[in-house]
Symmetry: C2
Subunit: 543 residues, 2 copies
Amino acid sequence: MLEGLVQHDFPLNLQHVLARMRSQFGDSEVVTLTADGTTRARYAEVCGRIDRLAGALTSLGVEQGDRVATFGWNSQRHLELYYAIPCMGAVLHTLNIRLFADQLTYIANHAKDKLVFVDDVLVPVLEKVAPTFETVEKFVVMGGGDCGELPNVIRYEELIADQPANFDWPELEDNQAAGLAYTSGTTGNPKGVLYSHRSQLLHAFGTCLADAMGLTAADRVLPVVPMFHVNAWGIPYAAGLIGSDLIMPMQFLQAEPLAKLIEEEKVTVAAGVPTVWLDLLNYVDEHKPDLSSIRTVVGGGSAVPLSLMQAFQERHGIRITQAWGMTEMSPLGTVARPPAGLSEDEQWRYRDTAGRIMPLVEARLVTGDGSEAPWDGETTGELEVRGPWIASDYYEDPSARDKFHDGWLRTGDIASIDSRGFVKISDRAKDVIKSGGEWISSVELEVELMAHPDVAEAAVIARPDERWQERPLACVVRKAGSSVSADDLIEHLRPRVAKWWLPDEISFIDEVPKTSVGKFDKKVLRKRLQEGNLESETVSQPA
Amino acid sequence: MLEGLVQHDFPLNLQHVLARMRSQFGDSEVVTLTADGTTRARYAEVCGRIDRLAGALTSLGVEQGDRVATFGWNSQRHLELYYAIPCMGAVLHTLNIRLFADQLTYIANHAKDKLVFVDDVLVPVLEKVAPTFETVEKFVVMGGGDCGELPNVIRYEELIADQPANFDWPELEDNQAAGLAYTSGTTGNPKGVLYSHRSQLLHAFGTCLADAMGLTAADRVLPVVPMFHVNAWGIPYAAGLIGSDLIMPMQFLQAEPLAKLIEEEKVTVAAGVPTVWLDLLNYVDEHKPDLSSIRTVVGGGSAVPLSLMQAFQERHGIRITQAWGMTEMSPLGTVARPPAGLSEDEQWRYRDTAGRIMPLVEARLVTGDGSEAPWDGETTGELEVRGPWIASDYYEDPSARDKFHDGWLRTGDIASIDSRGFVKISDRAKDVIKSGGEWISSVELEVELMAHPDVAEAAVIARPDERWQERPLACVVRKAGSSVSADDLIEHLRPRVAKWWLPDEISFIDEVPKTSVGKFDKKVLRKRLQEGNLESETVSQPA
């Protein structure tokens, strides 16, 4: 074999990103929202603090491969941890602050975290569960607030205060572990995804593609998506790599502070889950802040309703671009930028998908019989993906190996892919309703139901059925003041879905239960149905 | 060491790009300009022809690692060769059609090319030198034109006609050689740069960064830069990776056909050397074609004059973005996108540099005493670079090893870097004028001279001087009809450069000699000076 004479041993690790922040993006800015206003620091200053933080970690006995956990909102200090921990060879483990106590206990002990860095405002959440963390030697509190009942506490600023200005960064391997995040699976124990330096770097690189998030040095990026949720979709590393400013919202994720932050800080790119943008839309409709600095809003985490995207664009000129991914995928896998030369209507059709498969990501659809489905935009199968930033195993959890085969990750999503590589996710594999040998997409029914003006939320689950095996049961939250009936909703659905998809029963509920990351928790609804605690109305002969 | 559990063995090779062209960009288009109009093919069809071409190459005995040369303009067939050759494991060797015969002989024999693919319109250029190619077994003519005196000729279309529709692509290694290009150095023999699959893929990825060329699936890209010149700056692979349409100009690189091509094909991104844009500017000024589809023009190969960029932007709303690189760098190293929040004037200051250092590229400045120069925007040193797409050696040429040390490539450029990572190249190391222990930049003098309305071209070389060691001699081409004097030019320069930089002598010449790739060939001027064939006027006491 003839080998190319290019530098194959060039280190692909996060120290490269840190070096760029230091050498050419010293002027870029990190702004953190606080209760009193904002704090600001240039990357030059942040890098100095990262050096001192790495010194402090070393002084606390952190060694290469050790897991160091964070329990915090999006902030400058969290960013410092994002760099200091992996760049010294340790592993950044972002604990999800919204998990239940027993999940946190399981995760911290499974990861064998050595230290936990916690925002002072989150001390009340952590202090109850902290005593169950068996391997944690110290809790480091960020901010000057109360340390509560936390054991072995030190304060972040005191920790780094006396450290030397320069840290002697070690040489790292590309495939060395850099980060660890647990999936908040709805079944079984949470599973750890262990990212490498190379995967984090390549993912950040991919994020900056013009056809992905397209981050540039001129951008001011607001990650509303939390840094404890799949690395804030890679934005902290992408911003460092390309030099974007970062606008960190801390715990102030409500529409009003976000709108003010965007307006005052002239945010150009924002990223977060649809519920955030839904709340923001309502606020913006009423208060009309000046959000004209925004170039792109990236929506993901769950499907962004078409109506939401259209409302933002038509009423406020703000473009929401949908993206899709998973914790196991770092997370970015697809971005919904429509092809060129299409009418507005056709563009919406593409923008209303999970998006187009990114470079360095491969995808395929596997049907029930194990064969590959064609990319015809119709045939569905379980979506499988692989690539240099996609997990090939879980961290110390052999029980979950069946999520991977032949190097492919089984996403658990039922999807179709069209001839242009746009992925349309019809359902989670476990949420799909198997009716008479065919599949009914619960998600599509939900989307159509939520398009009704009187519907606030809708979750569709399978109801056991003797004849059809399963039939859809729609759990609907009416908007305040509405008295829309089950029959009204069926009439609304009738022209929109196949006849045999129409639910036989509708249950009006007060609220759809949510998981810790704000997704519909259908497990709870299924349990209520099973226990007979989900009253429903049978509708007039639907089929 | 704890290793990340992501797919580190995901193949980073050009087959991934080919797979994307086939699976999701089948609709993207390749347009090739011909004498009679254009030919068009969708990527789907192109991929089918790539399969058949790979089969044909195999039938001709091409094996992994074999060098297969091309001698052609930018066209669909050349694109097919760009993919078929490396994706079957052979090495695409792009011969520079503008080289002198003895250089071509040296290169083809040094590379041990097995086949040469040649455009029919280039047969007259190749046929004279073809008999000196010792290892070439067959010449494959692209197009239906005359095959001249070429030995062992077959025709491209006949070659692929009977091949099977599907090729069984082999597994490749990431570091396997994919491409070979020789630098047209002005001293010594040409030197080969051997690219790997991984380097070509990562470079294509980098090209699509929003802060680099920013190619997207919605773009229609016109590479005016030839495919025989450093891989057309990576555009053929970047377009395949991200799905851009390609508009191929063949030999029609004059302003009129280019302007028509841009207008008719609605080109959005074009890339080429400054002389192309200078000619186009003159044409556009006069004929006012509609070039409003253009989003970005990328200029590189040599410094793009500020006046040219400003004229295009002010008179025609077309933005030229400067980039810099070398054959040894795949070639992209810097792109001049200005930082945010600057006035128009300040932006021009940044846009008038080689650009900002790209992700995955590292740079440093090494001064005469071997120390590193600070990034202060003033101190100069020889620019050195390294990265995963930057050469670490030349192909089978141990004599040139001194161009590399400790993994760094010595670019031979004298440059400064500012605190934001913008590189300003002041001169080629060998062109800098060493006067009284200080350096005078020949390039800066040329730029200032060419800013004079009566100057068409200017090249500044060193004239031996007893007292100062070297002094600048300006060789100036007057614009037609102008009779600007040496003293006029000195007065023009006086407020623009340091006093001791002012040339003592000016030589009015008819034309600046050019190298095969259109760069000023100062070697020729130096030789004329040495032989006493360069008449010059001494100017009134300059200093």
